[in-house]
Symmetry: C2
Subunit: 194 residues, 2 copies
DNA sequence: CCGATCCTTTTACATTTGTTAAATAATCAT
DNA sequence: ATGATTATTTAACAAATGTAAAAGGATCGG
């Protein structure tokens, strides 16, 4: 189903990245669909091939996968954040990862196949998505830098300073694996800095 | 200076990502320039704002920065690899990082300002760069996954299995910081698996 | 409210990695 | 070639993180 009338703030956000004509915006909305997911429900399951760009418009979602049977959180997405399983979407391979709503969450989905057709008629939409990719790339470069050269304690302090709301919304076990450490280790760090 | 006549293999590589017309290719070549850098010479210094996309066409380069006075290698670029200081190029902020040739290296530089003008007349070039960004994004997602959830020993073994030539070409101290560990720790790991 | 389940912390110990310093080994400029 | 510089390894000890198990806390459905 395409989008209801109410213009989601996502498109305001899109326009702040790359101004697009109302024609282009309508075309983009026409291929978009809205999903509402209850807490803990999966948006996409492990093993599926990803053919959709998702953006969180309300709530909070994560990407995770299983390492030795343990859930490992790779990414959190807040309002306006893109959430894609890139290693599947951009290669066509099935994804080892899942997308899950952490709380009641609204997402806008954009099918890659339809989007690619729009790219042909609306270069401005392709530009928008190029810029979104650039910004996502930068955020991964920065995250890698943080993993490579900051201690777990520094990473934790940075994370909760960037996203104070995380602590109320996300179980610590997700936060620990996101930081690349065990739950026990995170508990120790929290005890230390208290 | 724009490119000499000999078509660098980089453009063959570009065409394998996104077929572009010969018009577009000529336009892209017209704004590109070739750099030859001797071993250990900097292509870009710390503190400069990055306004150029670089691609390695021969040799080998790295991005590094200083953490507590110690050089930390963030990225290695081999033939056909893009090498950009994204956190500067895509934000306009001065970069804390440097690009340095590890051996005698040839690079093709493409000024961002001129490229953006080309994007307006050649959507296929914009598409090419969108796809390059996608691929770069995927490679950073994968690297982050490796840093987050594999031991230093696993990461080292994986790295030399992916790029066996690294060991002959790159000092171990660069490899250790790339892996997110100290030189001493890498030495121990190497002694262990021998 | 109650028991079951899940989340978080704590403890004790093992392993990995960091730090500092020294010893070799390799490389480079003269 | 020779000495100086740089790179790598080794050693000893400190600090950080992992593992396993247990104990509290919190949450949820009935």
């Amino acid at each position: 189903m395409s989008l209801p009338n109410a213009t989601p703030s996502l498109f305001t956000y899109f326009n702040s990245i790359q101004k697009i004509s109302s024609n282009a915006e309508e075309a983009l909305k026409a291929i978009s669909f809205l999903i509402e997911t209850p807490k803990n429900k999966h948006v996409q399951e492990i093993g599926q091939t990803c053919r959709t760009y998702y953006f969180v418009t309300a709530g909070l979602a994560r990407i995770y996968y299983l390492k030795d049977g343990i859930e490992v959180t790779e990414y959190f997405a807040f309002e306006n954040d893109m959430i894609i399983r890139a290693e599947s979407l951009f290669t066509g391979n099935p994804s080892k990862k899942a997308i899950q709503a952490i709380e009641k969450t609204k997402l806008i989905g954009i099918p890659a196949s339809k989007l690619e057709i729009l790219f042909n008629s609306f270069p401005e939409i392709e530009r928008l998505f190029r810029k979104i990719m650039e910004a996502s790339y930068v955020s991964y470069v920065n995250r890698m830098e943080s993993l490579q050269f900051h201690s777990a304690e520094e990473r934790y302090i940075q994370l909760i300073s960037d996203f104070p709301e995380l602590l109320e919304k996300i179980p610590l076990k997700h936060i620990s694996s996101y930081l690349g450490i065990t739950q026990v280790s995170l508990s120790r760090i929290r005890a230390n800095i208290r």
